[in-house]
Structures are given as C-alpha cells and as structure tokens.
C-alpha cells in the first residue's frame, strides 16, 4: 500500500518538476515567430495595385490571414498562389479572373509631359509616391520606383499616362530555359554543341 502511494507521489512530483521546467523554458526561451501577416506580405509582389480589392498588399495580407482566398493577386500570378498555398497549407487555387489577368510583360507608367496639365491627381493616386510634380507643374514618373500598378491611369483627366512595357536590357536579360526533352531542337540555335568538337 505504502509502496504504491510512494510511487504515485514520486511520479506526481516528477511530473510537477518537469512541468515547471517546461513552463519556464516556454516563457524564457520563447521564439517570436514571424507573424503570418508579415510572411504573407513578404510573398505578395508589393505592386500596391489594389486589384485584389484591398488598398495595398498589406491589407490583403491581413485579409488572407483572416481567411480570405489567396488567389486574388494578378501581378503575383501562379507563383504567389503557389507560395501562399505552401505557407498557409491551403489548396492551390487558379487565379481569380475577376481581379484581372496575369500579364507577363512588366510595365511602368509614362507621362506624356507635353499633355500634362499638372492636376496632381495621379500623384495622389500613386501608392508608392513614384510620381513627381506639383500643382500646375508638369509631372513625371520615377521609373525605378514605379510598380506598374495602373492606378494613376484612371484619375488622369487628359489621359496623358501610358503604361509602357519595360524594355529588356543587357542587364535584365537572361538565358531562356531549354525547351526540354519532348520538344524539337527549334529555338536552340544559341546553344553551342560542344559534343561535336
């Protein structure tokens, strides 16, 4: 009888001890996990275009964290959906066409400066402050800062903003992916057939 009681007490004592140690460790060595909103936000392309229906990428990230679907980002396309699915453990969904289509060509806004009347409406619309100008002065787009979100095009009263594709430069160019096994050797003229040496 007393042996059983002793064993029970010993086990309870050990449980309490380890529980206390674990509890202390949980508090003392707590790892601040990256909040999921930040992680989602880091995956989103940060064009701040609002095509998802939210005023910027972060609000959409917050909404996704709150249970919204993660397929409303046309600039991110398939890749962002894929990454978000991995992060959140959700199914990979096809892009919601309602919010726009994926465009392969990256674009930037260009203001036809002769036609600009200096109304500042595009400046107010730009989510990343990429348009420079003042009231009744000509405006211009800082190309390096432009995310190509399109938001400045609509407010322009004289339609002097064009979305132009970014030209490929020697710096931005890179080799294409080889066409692979099932394809004919078409488009491989750039390859040097080293085996024929």
């Amino acid at each position: 009888m007393s042996t059983g009681l002793f064993a029970l007490l010993a086990l309870l004592g050990l449980a309490a001890l380890f529980g206390a140690i674990l509890g202390f460790a949980a508090v003392r060595f707590k790892v601040d996990a990256d909040p999921v909103v930040d992680q989602i936000d880091s995956i989103l392309p940060q064009t701040q275009c609002g095509q998802c229906g939210f005023p910027g990428c972060r609000p959409y990230a917050e909404s996704i964290a709150g249970g919204d679907t993660h397929n409303k980002c046309p600039p991110g396309g398939e890749q962002v959906i894929q990454e978000l699915s991995e992060l959140l453990g959700r199914d990979v969904l096809p892009l919601d066409e309602e919010h726009g289509e994926v465009s392969d060509v990256k674009k930037v806004a260009y203001i036809r400066e002769d036609e600009c009347i200096g109304c500042t409406k595009c400046i107010q619309a730009c989510p990343v402050d990429a348009i420079l100008g003042a009231a009744k002065q000509m405006h211009t787009v800082i190309v390096d800062e432009c995310t190509g979100c399109d938001l400045c095009v609509e407010p322009c009263p004289v339609d002097c903003i064009d979305m132009l594709p970014i030209p490929e430069t020697q710096q931005s160019w890179h080799w294409e992916k080889p066409t692979g096994v099932t394809h004919s050797p078409k488009g491989r003229d750039n390859l040097i057939p080293v085996q024929n040496l």
Binding site: Q46, D129, Q170, D189, V194, L197
Partner: protein
C-alpha cells in the same frame, strides 16, 4: 621549371583542340577598317561615359570615354578619325540586345596623340603607376574583362605570395595567347615584372599547357634575357623568384580558380577571390598590355584575336583595333560568307553565337569562330537524363550537375542554390560528356538568371513596400495633423461661443434684474398663484391680475406723461436759452413721447380687452396661465408615470412641484394627491382651451 610540384583539379575533359588551324602563322596586323564601333561596356563593372561629341576629330590613343566609378574602364580611340555617332549598336552580348557605342570613322592617317612611356617605371609612385594602368583602359584580356587596376591593388589582408601569369589557354580553337607568348615573350615578362612591382609577391609563375612547348620555351628565354634588365636589381624585385609551370593539357585548367589550384594546391573557396589565398592571377595578354601602357604609353586600343573556323580561308591571329566590326575583317581573313552557319565569339565551350556580324571586337574578344554547318551542326535533340553521373565526374568544381539540372528544370531554385549553383563556372564539361545531349549549362544559366531576376524583384518589392508604408505613415500623419487642427479650431470656437454666451447671459441677467420687480409683481406671480391655488380661484386671480395690471399701466402712463411734460418743459427752456444740446433734448422729448404713447396704447388695449372678454381676464395673464397650465398637465402626467413606476418612492411623488405646496406629502395622501393632480390637470386643460379660445377671440376683435 623541372620538378615543380603540381596538383590536380577534379574532373575536366579532353576535347579535340583544333588549335593547329590558327597557331601556325604569325600574328598579322589587322587593317584599319572603314568604321570602328566602340562599346562603352567592354569590361566588367559600370559602363564608361563618353566625353566626345559627334563630329569631334580624335587622334589615336585619345581618351573618348571616361570610367564611371571604381570598377570601370576608360575607352580610347584606336586610330585617328572623326566621331560619327554615339548610339545603340549590336554588341558582344548573347541576347543580341544593342548597347551604346561610339562610332569612329578613321581618317586612315593613324596619327598618334602625344604619348610617352615610362621605361623606368620604378621611379614612379606606386599609386601613379596604378592610375597609369587604369588610365590606359586595361581590363583582363583573358575573357572576363575585370579592370586590371582593381586586381593589382588587392585589399585582402593576406599578403600576396604568388603572381600567376596565366597562359594556359585551354579552350579549343583559341591560340591568341599561344602566339603572343611565342612572339612577344619579352614584353609579357616585362609586363609581369611591372605587375610584380605593384603587388609585391614572392614569386612570379608563368603557367602554360604542355601543348604549347614553343610558348614555354619563348618565355623561358625571355626570363633569361630580362636578368640583364636594370629593373630586376631593384630593391623590391631583387629577391623575386621567377619560374615557368607547364601543366598537362586538360580543359578547363585555364580557369582562374582551376589554375591556382593546379599550381599552388590552394583552393579558392566559394565566394572568395584569389587574393584571399595570396595569389593574383593575370592573363598573359594583360601582362603584354601593361607593358605597352607603362613602357610605351600606349593605352589598350588593340588586341590579338584568333580568327578561325572552317568558314574562312586565312585563319590565324590578328592584332585588330578594338571596335573593328567582325564583318570588316571578312576580307582580310577571307571568309566564305555563304558557308558560315554560325559566328561564335569566344571559344566553342564558353562562347556564344553572335546574332550579327556587325558586332565589334572588344577588349575581351579572344576568338572568333566562323563555323560551317558541318563543323557545328544543329544540336542533337535532348534526351531524358539517365542518371549516369558522367557529368559529376567531369565537373571541375565538384558540383552535382545532375541535381542542379533537376532543380533548375523544376524551378526549385532554393535547392539549386543549396547545391552551390553559383559556383558553377559554366565551363560546359558536363554538357560535353552528357550522353543524353542535355544542354546542362544552359539550364544553369537559365536558373542563375531567374534567381538574379527574382532577387532583383524581391529587392524592388521590399523597396516598394517601404515606400508604400512611408506613404501610409505620411498620409496618416497628415490626417492626424488635420484632425488636431480641426479640434483646435473647434475648441477655440467653443471658447469664443462660451465667452459670448456668458456675456449675453450677463446682459440678460441685468435685464432680468431690471424687469424682475415688474415680472414678479404681475404675470409670473399671478400665474404662480393661479396654479398653486387651483382652478377654482384662477378666474378670480386673473380678474385681480387684470385689475392690478390695469392699475400698473395707468401708473406707468402717468409717470411717462409726467416725464414727458418735464422734458418738454426743459426743452422749451433750452430753446429759449439757445443751448448747444438742444438736439439731444429734443430727442429725449421725442423718446419720452413715444414711451408715453406706448403706455397709453397699452392702457387703452388693456382696457378694451378687459371689457371685451366676458370673464374680464387680462389676455397676457391668460396666455401665461395657459402655458403654466400646459406645464402642469405635463407635470401631472409625469408624476402619474413616476408614481406608477415606483409606488414606494414617496419622496419623488411628494416633492413633485405639481402637488400643492401647502399640503404635506405623505404616503397615505399620495393616492389622493395623485387624483387631485389628475383632476387639476383636467381642469387646467379645460381652462387652457378656454383661454386659447378667449385669446383667439381677442385677436379677432383686435384685427
């Protein structure tokens, strides 16, 4: 030279050399072409900036574009002539994308700008010598084009032990360095000494392959000859040991990290530079260019380029002016244009196909292969990987090409990076041995490009996020400021309003005080009595009130009349006296007259009203009484409600002002009081209606 210990590099291949096609003839001088196209980017780093304008006449060796930043190189005019354009032209890039170039139309005079060498360079300051090399536009001529000044000025903490002069030239077809070593070994050795003077190594090692014995011999002779040069007895160079290392022929022994490993046994770890292991490695062509620049004052305006391939009759090495379009060389090298299937810049392993024959020769162009269809046929179709592992055996940097291939193919770039994709030197050995004809290197190039693009995009996204957040913060701040301003304004307005109200209240209070006596005596008091005394007495009170007010009005009229009379008297007196204030007196009289008239009017009205209404109640008093009655009704209702709500709360009911102030509020009397109040309310309501009717009647009669 004999007995030098050499190390092995892993992997490597032994492709057919095809070198004899071009290395049997002496270096020939390239002709001055009809135009020279000089790209601003012929080196690694930032592109140069043109300092000439279209139409400028320049002399041979004149600076036409200056470097931008530390890792950059200037560009010089290769011959005398006129600048005809600064625009986009096809350049040496596998994409075929055009780059900015300066076009020079030679005048065929080949007139040098004033220049002089520094044969006694050791008298110069080290920094001056370095800037002389930089100003001469020398970039690594081996193929990468890294600015030589940067390499000769190592910032590494490790002292430089070895200056390695790389004459290995392991890639098939290329013989430019071979011919250069054979024919101009003296200059190469002297150039190497100049570089040794700058980096202060313990030894200079000339490395070459055993398939170029003539080159090794020439170098050896040159080293013997230079012993007579006064330079070798200079303090800084007297203890220098100079030797030649002949390495076995194997591709890619000529890679910088590979040749360092073979000669010194030291491996340059991933991400490090040779200076970190105490080695500076320079190409023989670069050594030659340094000698020309320092001892002769000639900037880098020409280079030795191998022209080879089945597509031309006169293969060989040509000293061509930089900027010479390849098509301008066609005549001299006797190209069979119709036979050329593809034009390759660089070697067959690491070079790329040119999209245009207008591309100019640049500082890094060591070879041009004009290949026929037989020589380089269409690549055979890619077959599935059979996991044979031949690529891993061939890899000189011990990567796992097969894994990299899978990861690159499936866009698993993270894994590809874990497998050190960026340590791949793109030598092509893996693709060369692949039995499935997989263009492995292109997969790696694609993956590298994608990773860089993704990194750039991420960087841009971060930047955009920052800007977006900054904007949000700014807008919020603006909003808050606006809000604060608005609140401030509202607060000020409220204060002003308060002050105004207080002022008004004070004024009103004064007025009230003035009128207090009158009011108390007539209307309010009368009404108060009327309500408190109940309905029965109200009519009598009203009668009393009307009598009272009639009396008051009469008194007021009499007073006014008296005042007016006095005033008139005073006025007449003043008129007699002819006073200045006569106008004021007159005004006063008028005012008093008006007052008196008003009082008279009121008296008359009152009198008529009193007579007209049957019950003889004063109309004003009646209205007030009616109002009071209304209030009483409401109060009575309220009391009733309150009572119903909380029967126990006696204090509430008893303190209710509607109850008769004389009757003591008690629990027992509550019911009776309530009934009385209700009754009172009802009667008052009747009274109110009656009063209203009376008022109406009065109004009508007045009208």
């Amino acid at each position: 030279m004999v007995g030098r210990r050499l190390w092995q590099i892993p992997g490597g291949i032994h492709p057919e050399e095809h070198k004899s096609r071009s290395n049997t003839t002496e270096i020939q001088q390239g002709l001055i072409p009809s135009r020279l196209v000089l790209p601003l980017q012929q080196h690694l780093g930032a592109a140069a900036e043109p300092i000439v304008t279209v139409g400028t006449h320049v002399l041979k060796g004149q600076l036409i574009a200056q470097p931008k930043g530390y890792v950059s190189c200037p560009v010089h005019a290769p011959t005398s002539g006129t600048i005809t354009a600064i625009d986009e032209q096809p350049v040496h890039h596998p994409s075929g994308i055009e780059g900015t170039c300066i076009t020079l139309e030679p005048d065929q005079k080949d007139e040098w700008i004033e220049h002089h060498g520094q044969p006694t360079f050791w008298e110069l300051e080290r920094s001056d010598l370095l800037s002389l090399i930089q100003e001469s536009g020398i970039a690594g001529l081996g193929g990468a084009g890294f600015p030589t000044r940067v390499k000769l000025n190592p910032s590494s903490e490790t002292p430089i032990q070895t200056l390695l002069i790389n004459g290995v030239e392991c890639e098939p077809y290329i013989t430019a360095d071979d011919r250069l070593m054979r024919e101009r070994a003296d200059a190469i050795v002297l150039g190497s000494y100049i570089m040794a003077y700058l980096v202060q190594p313990e030894e200079i090692i000339f490395a070459t392959e055993d398939n170029k014995p003539e080159a090794a011999e020439a170098l050896s002779d040159a080293i013997d000859r230079i012993k007579a040069h006064p330079l070798t007895h200079h303090d800084r160079l007297s203890t220098l040991s100079v030797s030649i290392a002949v390495v076995p022929t194997k591709y890619p022994s000529g890679g910088e990290k590979q040749i360092i490993q073979i000669i010194t046994g030291k491996e340059v770890r991933s991400g490090a530079i040779p200076a970190d292991v105490g080695v500076v490695c320079q190409n023989v062509g670069t050594a030659y260019a340094v000698e020309r620049a320092v001892c002769h004052g000639e900037p880098l305006i020409s280079r030795i380029t191998t022209f080879t391939g089945e597509g031309l009759y006169k293969p060989g090495n040509y000293e061509v002016l930089l900027g010479t379009p390849i098509e301008e060389m066609y005549d001299q090298v006797a190209v069979r244009e119709h036979r050329i299937k593809r034009l390759i810049m660089g070697g067959p392993m690491m070079g790329f196909t040119l999209k245009s024959a207008r591309v100019p020769i640049v500082k890094t162009t060591n070879c041009i292969i004009a290949a026929t269809a037989d020589e380089f046929p269409e690549p055979p179709p890619e077959l599935p990987c059979i996991r044979c592992g031949a690529c891993a055996d061939a890899c000189p940097v011990q990567l796992l090409p097969q894994q990299l291939y899978w990861y690159s193919k499936t866009h698993n770039f993270e894994q590809a990076q874990h497998h050190n994709l960026f340590d791949c030197i793109e030598c092509g050995a893996c693709a060369y041995v692949c039995p499935s004809n997989i263009p492995l290197v292109q997969y790696y190039r694609f993956a590298k490009g994608e990773i860089k693009a993704i990194e750039l995009e991420n960087h841009k996204a971060d930047h955009s996020r920052e800007r977006f957040e900054a904007r949000q913060a700014r807008l919020e701040k603006e909003q808050q400021e606006k809000e604060a301003k608005r609140k401030e304004r509202a607060r000020k307005a409220a204060e002003a309003q308060k002050a105004k109200a207080a002022k008004k209240a004070a004024q009103e209070a004064e007025k009230e005080a003035e009128k207090a006596a009158d009011k108390e005596s007539n209307t309010a008091a009368a009404a108060g009595t009327a309500t408190s005394d109940g309905t029965n007495r109200s009519s009598t009170t009203e009668k009393n009130l009307s009598e009272k007010s009639l009396e008051q009005l009469e008194t007021a009229f009499n007073k006014a009349q008296k005042k007016w009379k006095d005033a008139r008297k005073a006025l007449t007196e003043q008129e007699k006296k002819g006073s200045d204030h006569i106008e004021a007196y007159r005004n006063k009289v008028d005012k008093l007259k008006a007052k008196m008239d008003a009082a008279k009017e009121a008296l008359n009205q009152h009198g008529s009203a009193a007579t007209q209404t049957a019950e003889a109640t004063d109309i004003t008093a009646l209205i007030i009484a009616a109002a009071q009655a209304r209030t009483d009704v409401t109060k009575a209702e309220k009391a009733l409600r309150q009572f119903n709500d909380q029967k126990k709360s006696e204090s509430d009911a008893s303190s209710d002002p509607l109850s008769d102030p004389s009757s003591a509020p008690s629990k027992e009397a509550l019911e009776a009081q309530l009934a009385q109040a209700q009754e009172q309310a009802a009667t008052l309501h009747q009274q109110l209606t009656a009063a209203k009717e009376a008022a109406k009647a009065t109004d009508e009669t007045d009208n």
